[in-house]
Symmetry: C2
């Protein structure tokens, strides 16, 4: 069994994480979080979303946050863009990468954005074209690739279909997301295999939620398939909107702990990462959702 | 990659779990927990320990608990026996299996029982002989096979050495335990490989702690090696004595969720298992440590 020598983690905490937290977090705190993440060695950070503040008030400060970051050379700053209007607003903030999205579940697509999977991807075509024209890298987030809160289990054929649609409009990289955390290793493997029909292994990342505690096992099976890019969220920021009180995004700390333990390089300083996680958990007034983060922080206090 | 078709889980919650909980739990509650575990389909349960009540007051009711269980055919009831005196007391309770133990760390052995690894195993020789004479199966729990709270990382050679000592005194099965949860997949793989020099794959089980969130990833790598027996603890009972407030034993619910998701049979009814976990968590007055347990319980409440 061979494993990648090096893994790249994209911390999605400031966007995917904080968007799903109940509390509104001030721009200054978000900026400080981004600064702490880049100080810890993260080379890509999903910073914010250029979505209507009517729908997502948590991200209303998108331009302010992007403007406030002291950018570090070699770090990429990505933003979510739900439509052309969002993309045009995002453009002013000079992101390195934009994220467009689609669901592998028709029911989720209908409930969430009131259109079919194909329609939702079609609508992104001008965004992708404009981004590529502007030299901005385009990542596609594929949600519900294993299970859907409305439809239940999702067949790999639906992932194949969605990945094909994403490829068709010029998306350059896709994330295979288990949005509700129901995936287990073999189901995740099949979702990734379906994606690999359209994208190269270097164009695919894993995005797992720890709602059922499965995220590291799912990451391990991906590593064994050669996947070397993952989305993670510092301190496990972001709950699960479909199971209140449950865990959402896998914690960056837990993934880094596993990778370093396996001798896989990440370029991340775990101690500094734990500080970043503790900073935002303290701000939110609750313990970190990272098991490794909590254990190492407790150890630090008692030693 | 092939996986076992069927996995056997040994729920160690009543013993290993409750022994490490601060609260004293009455015998009646322990008995009810065992009944709920067997109703959920567990085929082996580590019930109690015949250790001096001076050292482990939580297990002072060992004989009472063993006597109170309405035993179910096909279910095995095991007990921990730290010495010959404990074994003789245990014998009266007619266990199907006894558990002896040793550490792969010299420092841990010295600090914990004030003797060397070899001495500690030697002391168990008469216990093992007496048990086998009485037709009782002997399992050996090998602690600190990946890391030790005093020594740090443990080399696979120490596991090889300990497994050889266990084999030498007639132990019939060994559990490879990551007592402090610091293990990651490749380290665990090496510990299991060292054990397999002395024991057949059918004589080896994995025993993982989720302190750093790694238990399911470690279980997955074991499954890939052919290991099909694991110790788990309902609701993740049992904290980590070396990192206060941190998670201890991996939750049975999380492991069952993964196995069933992978199409691996366990004979366990996850719904009933969650009830068992909720029962003991409610008694202890705190949420379950199982992520799958919490997510499924929340889902049940809201659907």
């Amino acid at each position: 069994m061979s494993y990648p020598l090096r893994v790249k983690l994209v911390d999605v905490g400031p966007r995917d994480g904080l968007q799903n937290e109940k509390q509104l977090v001030p721009a200054a705190v978000k900026i400080e979080l981004v600064h702490r993440l880049q100080a810890a060695g993260l080379k890509e950070i999903e910073v914010t979303s250029f979505v209507s503040p009517k729908w997502v008030p948590q991200m209303a400060d998108n331009a302010e946050v992007m403007a406030g970051i002291a950018r570090q050379p070699g770090v990429r700053y990505s933003v979510l863009t739900p439509n052309l209007k969002g993309f045009e607003a995002a453009l002013l903030s000079k992101p390195d990468e934009i994220v467009v999205f689609g669901s592998a579940s028709e029911a989720f697509s209908q409930k969430n954005i009131n259109c079919s999977m194909a329609e939702s991807i079609d609508r992104f075509a001008p965004v992708v074209a404009a981004a590529r024209e502007a030299g901005i890298f385009v990542r596609g987030a594929m949600s519900c690739t294993v299970g859907c809160p409305y439809e239940g289990e999702i067949a790999p054929e639906r992932v194949d279909y969605l990945a094909g649609l994403m490829k068709g409009i010029g998306v350059q990289h896709v994330g295979v997301a288990d949005t509700i955390g129901v995936g287990t290793p073999l189901k995740v493997q099949r979702a990734v295999e379906a994606t690999l029909k359209h994208f190269d292994i270097n164009q695919v990342s894993g995005h797992f939620h720890d709602t059922y505690g499965q995220a590291l096992a799912n990451s391990l099976i991906c590593l064994q398939m050669g996947v070397w890019q993952f989305d993670t969220s510092v301190a496990g920021l972001g709950g699960c909107p479909y199971a209140k009180g449950a865990t959402g995004n896998v914690a960056t700390e837990d993934v880094v702990y596993m990778l370093h333990g396996m001798g896989i390089e990440t370029g991340i300083d775990l101690d500094q990462l734990i500080n970043a996680g503790q900073f935002i958990s303290d701000y939110l007034g609750r313990p970190s959702n990272s098991r490794a983060g909590k254990a190492l922080f407790t150890k630090r206090l008692t030693s």
